[in-house]
């Protein structure tokens, strides 16, 4: 039997089995973190199977490593898994971040380790499930499931007394829209009799879902809103700063961005192409506003965690801008940026976590002047910052550049003004990040560093950070490794747009680069 | 002597009794009286059954009434036992004072 057909199931099952195993083992010493580390590493190794056996030349739109079995006969729910260029790297990314998450939690989590690691692994199961499910209901199941462990992680392992509220807030923000999403899914099923994504996409392309355009429009909105809250897109970000400032580092690393963005790309664009096109101008505008708003808010934060939350908001807004441009480069850039931003964000949160371990605070005013004491720390912070602000040769640049280029080319109205507006976000992000570095690491010694002795990055932390730092560089200098697969997906989505005057674009070159990588 | 009464009149009589029962159920404050109101409602239902049984020439309506009586007897036994139990613990039969559980 070819392992290709079961690899995705294996990837999902390993963390699940690990969680069950941990539940049965006694919570003694470091047994839990070691166990979790082993499980996550094995998962990661399995995910690496995907890029090595991915058929880069396969027809655009085909799913690989697919398995398709009946789950429930009636209603026709199928156990349909598969990945394409869009999701493959996200799976790998999720696999990579998990062991890192275990490593950063090593010391922070000292009570109720069992609960923590079980929830963490379940969270991983849910995320992997979301990325590989091709059946709408299966997907929805994982999507909903992903909320629960996260809520519990926030509510039980949050930083302050505010944790319970933050957890519930996160849950409500995530759950209520997805309840409406379920109505949408049910409506689709009632119309078409299938939950299968490829079939739905084909039907959509053939305008075969429903003749009722209003209903279709409402349904697409149900989808989009649910995803947009999870991203979060600008006005729906109410949960983000609370959740990020409360959640433990390992949870924050996977909190924002990926799931929602992937879902928009996969489902909104896949099932409702026309509706997505129609709403694109609005989303472009929201994206641009989000970029600037996030950056401005980050600029005035006094709390590092909140600052990072707004930085995240700004970064995902970039991606929104890119993907809703519906150009090849915008989409490619968006997808690439999802991966790259996740890595950068993870690094950011990990470093913040390290800092907190040492000084017990996120308050910028209490820190300062630690560069001399913690040289490794500051180095890493600076590299991460440079990646985040989009320095060429690092990963952030590739994504941002492609996105801005793509949105310039976009066929939809108002784009140019918004793109220009959004570009200012790049400058703003540089300012708040660098200012943050300046305030935290240089200048006068803060209250905390003065009174506390801290150790520099230790071996375990090195082990966690270096893979990311290396990846920053590799992704910056050799994006085609990633773009090769991503482009198959990006191009397919872009192809749904009635092709207009793309030829006159001044930035054709970059798109070519991407296409070059495809071969 | 052969004056006939429309079945509807019997039904209206039953409706009157039923409504008085409902009103009494809602208005009365003494548990026993409330229970008595329920019995009145059941009686109204019985009258309806008998009237319809007469109209349809179907004995099953009368049998239903018979069962209602049996059930009412069983209910009365249990209900009054419960009432005695509550009187033992609370020393009152006023529903407004039986309010340990409120929001």
């Amino acid at each position: 039997m070819n392992i290709d057909h079961s690899i995705l199931t294996i990837i999902i099952l390993i963390p699940l089995a690990g969680a069950i195993l941990l539940a049965l083992l006694p919570d003694k010493g470091k047994l839990m973190p070691w166990g979790a580390l082993a499980v996550t590493l094995v998962t990661f190794v399995c995910t690496l199977h995907l890029p090595f056996h991915f058929d880069y030349g396969a027809a655009s739109g085909s799913f690989q490593f697919a398995t398709d079995q009946q789950w429930v006969a009636s209603p026709a729910i199928r156990y349909h898994l598969g990945v394409d260029g869009l999701s493959m790297w996200l799976v790998v990314l999720t696999g990579l971040l998990a062991p890192l998450g275990v490593l950063v939690s090593w010391r922070v989590i000292d009570t109720r380790k069992k609960t923590f690691y079980i929830l963490f692994l379940l969270q991983q199961v849910a995320m992997l499930g979301v990325f590989v499910s091709l059946d709408l209901l299966l997907y929805y199941s994982f999507w909903e499931l992903s909320i629960v462990p996260m809520t519990l992680l926030i509510a039980s392992f949050g930083r302050t007394e505010n944790r319970r509220r933050a957890g519930i807030k996160f849950f409500l923000y995530a759950f209520i829209p997805s309840a409406i999403l379920l109505v949408g899914i049910l409506w689709l099923y009632a119309r078409t009799g299938t939950f299968d994504l490829p079939r739905l996409a084909n039907l959509a392309a053939a305008h075969g879902i429903s003749g009722n355009s209003t209903a279709l429009w409402l349904c697409s909105l149900a989808f989009l809103v649910a995803f947009a809250v999870k991203v979060p897109v600008f006005p729906l970000h109410g949960w983000l700063s609370d959740a990020i400032s409360e959640a433990p580092t390992a949870a924050v690393m996977v909190l924002a961005g990926k799931l929602g963005l992937y879902s928009i790309l996969r489902f909104s664009f896949g099932i409702f192409p026309e509706q997505s096109h129609r709403i694109a101008p609005l989303l472009i505008a929201l994206g641009a506003i989000g970029i600037v708003y996030g950056a401005l808010m980050a600029l005035v934060q006094k709390d590092l965690k909140r600052l990072s939350a707004y930085a995240t908001l700004s970064a995902v807004a970039f991606i929104i801008l890119g993907i809703f441009s519906f150009t090849v480069s915008g989409l490619d850039g968006g997808i690439f940026h999802i991966v790259s931003e996740s890595l950068t964000g993870a690094a950011f949160f990990m470093l913040l976590g390290f800092l907190y371990e040492r000084y017990g605070t996120y308050d910028i005013r209490e820190l300062g002047g630690i560069a001399s004491r913690l040289p490794w720390m500051v180095t890493m912070f600076v590299i991460m910052t440079l990646s985040l602000v989009g320095l060429p040769m690092l990963n952030g640049f590739v994504g941002e550049f492609l996105i801005l280029a793509g949105s310039m080319q976009s066929v939809f109205a108002h784009h140019v003004a918004w793109t220009v507006f959004a570009t200012s976000g790049v400058i703003l992000s540089a300012s708040y990040m660098l200012w943050m570095i300046q305030r935290v690491f240089y200048g006068n010694l803060g209250v905390k560093p003065e009174n506390m002795t801290a150790w520099d990055i230790d071996a375990r932390e090195h082990l966690a950070m270096w893979p990311l730092l290396i990846l920053f560089l590799v992704m910056g200098v050799a994006p085609p490794i990633w773009l090769r697969a991503i482009d198959t997906a990006g191009a397919r989505i872009a192809a749904t747009v009635p092709q207009p005057q793309q030829a006159n674009s001044p930035l054709k070159l970059e798109a070519n680069t991407a296409e070059g990588g495809q071969r | 002597m052969a004056a006939q009464v429309p079945t509807a009149y019997y039904l209206v009589l039953a409706a009157i009794l039923f409504s008085i029962g409902v009103g009494s159920f809602l208005i009365k404050r003494n548990i026993i009286t409330i229970f008595i109101s329920i019995e009145l409602m059941l009686n109204a239902v019985n009258l309806t059954f008998v009237a319809f049984a007469h109209q349809w020439h179907q004995i099953s309506g009368q049998i239903f009434v018979f069962f209602v009586m049996v059930v009412a007897a069983a209910e009365a036994a249990v209900g009054l036992a419960i009432i005695i139990a509550i009187f033992r613990t609370r020393q009152t039969l006023n529903v407004d004072q039986i309010d340990l559980m409120k929001l």
Binding site: - | P6, I20, I27, I32, T33, E39, V65, A74, A77, L80
Partner: protein
């Protein structure tokens, strides 16, 4: 005759029911209900349900209501007090009851034509008397409900025993 019976005993029943509603002492309410029940027994008889008329007197008036009176005497229940709850109940109770009454009456009177008229005696099937016919159906077609009633009564007995027994045993 039918009309006379209906008017006399119908009026008596309504009067009893109203008295039930208006009396403040539970024992008076209980006795009013006995009046209602006895009037209904006569009406049953006039509608050809002799057995039910007897059963009404024996079971309802003779057993159930005696039990009520007995419990009222046992608990020495006093007059109802007016409480804050009762004002709210008046506000909800009267309109509710009136609404139900209007609805029911409207339907009954509007369907009056289809419902036919009642005659004294009202024989169901000629040749059989009421009790024979009743028991014939009861022990053939409706045998199961009849048998199941024994479980019902068993439960009631069990319940009465459980509830009435003192806790300290």
């Amino acid at each position: 005759m039918q009309l006379a019976l209906f008017i006399i005993f119908g009026a008596l029943a309504v009067a009893g029911a109203l008295n039930l509603l208006l009396q403040r002492h539970p024992i008076n309410s209980a006795l009013s209900l006995v009046v209602v029940m006895m009037s209904l027994a006569v009406l049953y008889w006039s509608l050809g349900a002799e057995f039910l008329a007897a059963a009404q007197v024996i079971v309802y008036s003779g057993a159930i209501m005696v039990l009520f009176v007995f419990v009222i005497m046992l608990l020495n229940a006093g007059k109802e007090e007016k409480t804050t709850g009762s004002r709210a109940a008046y506000i909800a109770g009267f309109p509710g009851a009136a609404a139900i009454f209007c609805l029911l009456t409207f339907v009954f009177l509007s369907e009056q034509k289809a419902l036919g008229v009642a005659n004294l005696g009202g024989h169901l099937n000629s040749g059989l008397n009421n009790i024979e016919e009743l028991s014939r159906v009861l022990f053939t077609k409706l045998l199961l409900p009849f048998e199941v009633t024994s479980v019902l009564i068993l439960v009631a007995i069990l319940g009465a025993v459980v509830l009435a027994r003192k806790e300290d045993q």
